[in-house]
Amino acid sequence: MKPIFSIISVILIGAGLYLKFLYDVPDVEETTNFFVSGFLIIIGIAGLLISVFWSHPPSTPQSHD
């Protein structure tokens, strides 16, 4: 589950950076582009950091009868 979460986060960051720096934004859509690209980058970075720092509780050994 953790690798999938990390990959999705990286995709979000990539999409945000693309919209911010490479996409040719029409003049009237600059505000929307500023918000959407910022939103994607923030969520992506937060998701990536959470996936790095997430610690699973130690699993309890199961007894086999």
Partner: protein, 202 residues
């Protein structure tokens, strides 16, 4: 969930709130958007003829929009009026001139934009619109598309020369409008103004 994850979540939420305030809320307008750079309004006066009766030239260096700095020279008899960022609006005896920056969307070309969007718009808006000429030019090494047309404004007929000069991000659009009777006499000056338009960061 450990403390680091909670901290990251809180920081992300704070960043999103700040982003929203910066985009739509009370902080909007402080970060982005083009503003008029005072340098753009300072004219450098030179003794350089631009046409009959215009021995002095004012040169402006527009530094309003980062990827589209440009230089423009006009006769000093042209009066600079209030203009938005990236643009100049001049009035002079018998006409007016405007220089502005226009976004060219990725899904079209400058020529297509001029012929399929701008010209139909003029036909709808300007009474008595009539195309006089259309040509592709090269101005200081940049491709340009020039549309010359006339329209009626009340009782008088105006002639307009609208030239779209392709730039790095946006295109420069020079619109020079004069009364039909005075247009031939201003042609040499208009040509000098067009040839004086140069992109600075290309």
């Amino acid at each position: 969930m450990n403390k680091k994850v909670i901290t990251i979540g809180l920081l992300a939420m704070t960043a999103l709130i700040l982003l929203t305030l910066y985009t739509f809320g009370p902080l909007a307008g402080r970060g982005g958007g083009a503003t008029v750079n005072p340098v753009s309004r300072q004219a450098k006066t030179e003794y350089k003829a631009m046409g009959p009766g215009t021995p002095v030239t004012n040169t402006y260096h527009n530094r309003d929009i980062k990827e589209n700095f440009y230089t423009l020279s006009v006769p000093d008899s042209w009066q600079l009026e209030s203009s938005p960022a990236g643009a100049y609006h001049f009035t002079f005896s018998g006409g007016e001139g405007t220089v502005e920056l226009m976004d060219i969307p990725d899904n079209t070309t400058p020529e297509l934009l001029v012929l399929s969007q701008e010209e139909p718009r003029f036909k709808n808006v300007l009474p008595g619109y009539q195309r006089l000429n259309y040509q592709k030019l090269s101005i200081n090494g940049n491709e340009a598309y020039q549309l010359i047309y006339q329209y009626t404004d009340g009782k008088k007929t105006n002639t307009a020369t609208r030239t779209t000069i392709v730039g790095k991000d946006r295109a420069g659009v020079l619109s020079l409008i004069s009364e039909k009777e005075t247009a031939p006499g201003l042609q040499a000056i208009f040509t000098s103004v067009l040839n004086g338009f140069k992109w600075e960061n290309q």
